[in-house]
């Protein structure tokens, strides 16, 4: 199992991470090594074994659709890198 340089760049793009050429090289080596190690689990027979995404036997719950106090808009927006008129400002998209 080895992760190619192109693969690393594709994954980085999916993960929205800018990476340098140097970083892609070391990530390719490190990810290959870790995935090689993880390869051992392929040998285990898991036919008829369900996946455990969650250990507790609980399901999503409903709450009453009642109006409750929520976080103050101005306090929340104060943490944003850019905000104006009660809104977050993001770079222009369209």
């Amino acid at each position: 199992m080895s992760v190619s340089l192109d693969e690393v760049k594709r994954i980085a793009s999916l993960a929205r991470l800018a990476i340098s050429e140097e970083e892609s090289l070391s990530l390719a080596t490190e990810l290959s090594k870790i995935l090689d190690f993880a390869q051992a689990i392929q040998q285990i027979d898991t036919s008829n074994i369900p996946a455990t995404t969650h250990v507790l036997d609980i399901v999503d719950v409903w709450r009453d659709d009642a109006v409750k106090p929520s976080l103050d808009r101005e306090t929340v927006l104060k943490q944003a890198p850019a905000a104006e008129d009660g809104c977050f400002i993001a770079p222009k998209i369209v």
Partner: protein, 466 residues
């Protein structure tokens, strides 16, 4: 006045006031924290309660919360984590926010974006991670107790390395609302303390069902100290042979076995058991935890909070995301986001992520099978004592393997405690005890009984004694 219960007693008897206790610890921090590096933020004037420290991934509306990462530098949460709110309601006071590996990813605290934490027992050694600041603060008496979080051993391993008691509660016992998420199906908040008694006190304060966390279990809260009878007569302790295999340091092996014979002399019964899927836990963990992390950390996008980097040539949306995340996350966080994104991506999902979740079921079944025969499972917390700075940081896989004894507990959602049980080359050794789901009472009882019979938990590092 080292423990919470001793402090509580002293205040009740009017030997000292809560205000004096707070000042005592503030003075200790002023004098010693430059050397230890446990605190990322100190409250200038804490309230007059019994003071504790908080790992810097718990949201506090009156203090910054960085998660040990540059991407949250200067972030002031607009709300308190549920456990923080509960502690305030019970009159507790906070000394400050504690250093950690960025986003709780690490086993040595070397991944903090801010500064290193030294092990008070030997300042050339790591304190463990990711709750390294939380463990070192208790060991060096920079707080009588602290809260940490544990996704794969991040409370228990630093507790072992620093010679303190660390408890990871059952998944769902403590609300995760206001805990910066790493791996949502594994994360739990828990106490680091001087003894099991204090762990029981703090656990009782922060537990309980919380409508703000949909994975918070609806089980009644209890006074965990009522379990601490000192009695381990006929307690069945399973000793899994896979945890005493190759890679275990002989001194750690000897100390853990010695501690088990102490419990045996007190009436406990030891059983040789097998947990056949143990060897696959590290692989499963690093696939599941990184997959969850890659999804959780998608929220750090430079729009709603934290850092935004618009210094790139192209400052439109996608390049802004990429540059913000590239400059805000540390190398280990990036590595794990990459690994998680890989195992969730089309073409690899079935072979990695889904396969890991199936093997996770087998690991959980190993535990549930064992718990039909025994009440507690005892193992070393870590295969070695604290290692030196730089010793494992060059190779991520070597670092991951140091979590080998703690991660299965998270995969199975079980409670686990680490308590000091010996010393080697001047560094503490940890004994881990794992319990049935929501049976923290039994592991706390066994830990407390052990601490009544031994004094490893009373040892103090040279230079930091009180």
């Amino acid at each position: 006045m080292r423990t919470l219960h001793a402090i509580e007693e002293g205040i009740k008897r009017k030997e000292f006031s809560a205000e004096e206790v707070v000042r005592f610890y503030q003075d200790r921090i002023a004098k010693h924290d430059e050397e230890v590096g446990a605190y990322l933020y100190c409250y200038p004037s804490p309230s007059d309660g019994i003071p504790i420290g908080l790992k810097d991934l718990l949201a506090t509306k009156d203090a910054p919360t960085t998660c040990g990462s540059k991407i949250l530098e200067g972030y002031h949460p607009p709300y308190d984590a549920t456990c923080v709110r509960l502690l305030r309601e019970k009159g507790m006071s906070f000394l400050g926010k504690l250093n950690m590996d960025g986003f709780a990813m690490g086993s040595s605290n070397e991944n903090s974006a801010y500064k290193r934490v030294c092990n008070p027992w030997n300042t050339e050694c790591v304190p463990g991670g990711s709750s390294g600041g939380s463990a070192a603060a208790v060991a060096a008496h920079l707080a009588p107790a602290t809260l940490g979080s544990d996704t794969g051993g991040s409370i228990r391993q630093p507790a072992a390395f620093c010679g303190v008691t660390g408890l990871k509660p059952t998944y769902g016992r403590v609300s995760r609302y206001g805990l910066v998420a790493f791996a949502s199906s594994l994360d739990q908040i828990g106490p680091l303390t001087h003894d099991a008694w204090d762990a029981a006190i703090l656990l009782g304060m922060i537990s309980g069902h919380d409508p703000m966390d949909s994975t918070s279990a609806n089980v009644p809260n209890e006074d965990f100290t009522k379990h601490l009878t000192g009695d381990v007569q006929n307690l069945r302790i399973g000793v899994p042979r896979e945890y005493f295999a190759q890679g275990l340091d002989p001194a750690v092996n000897a100390a853990v076995r010695q501690s088990l014979s102490v419990l045996e002399s007190a009436g406990a019964k030891l059983f040789d058991i097998s947990m056949p899927h143990t060897e696959h836990a590290v692989a499963v963990y690093y696939l599941v935890a990184t997959a969850e992390a890659s999804s959780n950390l998608a929220r750090f996008d430079g729009v709603r909070y934290g850092l935004r980097n618009t210094t790139g040539k192209d400052d439109s949306l996608i390049p802004m995301y990429k540059n913000t995340r590239a400059s805000g996350f540390g190398p280990e966080v990036k590595r794990r986001i990459m690994l998680g994104t890989y195992s969730l991506s089309a073409g690899y999902y079935d072979a990695y992520y889904k396969k890991a979740l199936e093997v996770r079921t087998l690991i959980q079944r190993d535990f549930l099978d064992a718990f039909t025969k025994v009440d507690v499972i005892a193992t070393p917390t870590s295969p070695t004592v604290a290692f030196k700075f730089g010793e494992k940081s060059a190779d991520p896989l070597t670092m991951y393997l140091s979590d080998i004894y703690t991660i299965s507990t998270n995969l199975a959602g079980l409670p686990g405690i680490s308590i000091p049980c010996g010393m080697d080359k001047g560094l503490p050794i940890g004994l881990q005890m794992i319990g049935r789901p929501f049976d923290e009472g039994t592991i706390l009882r066994a830990a407390d009984a052990y601490q009544r019979l031994t004094d490893w938990h009373d040892l103090q590092p040279e230079g930091f004694k009180i």
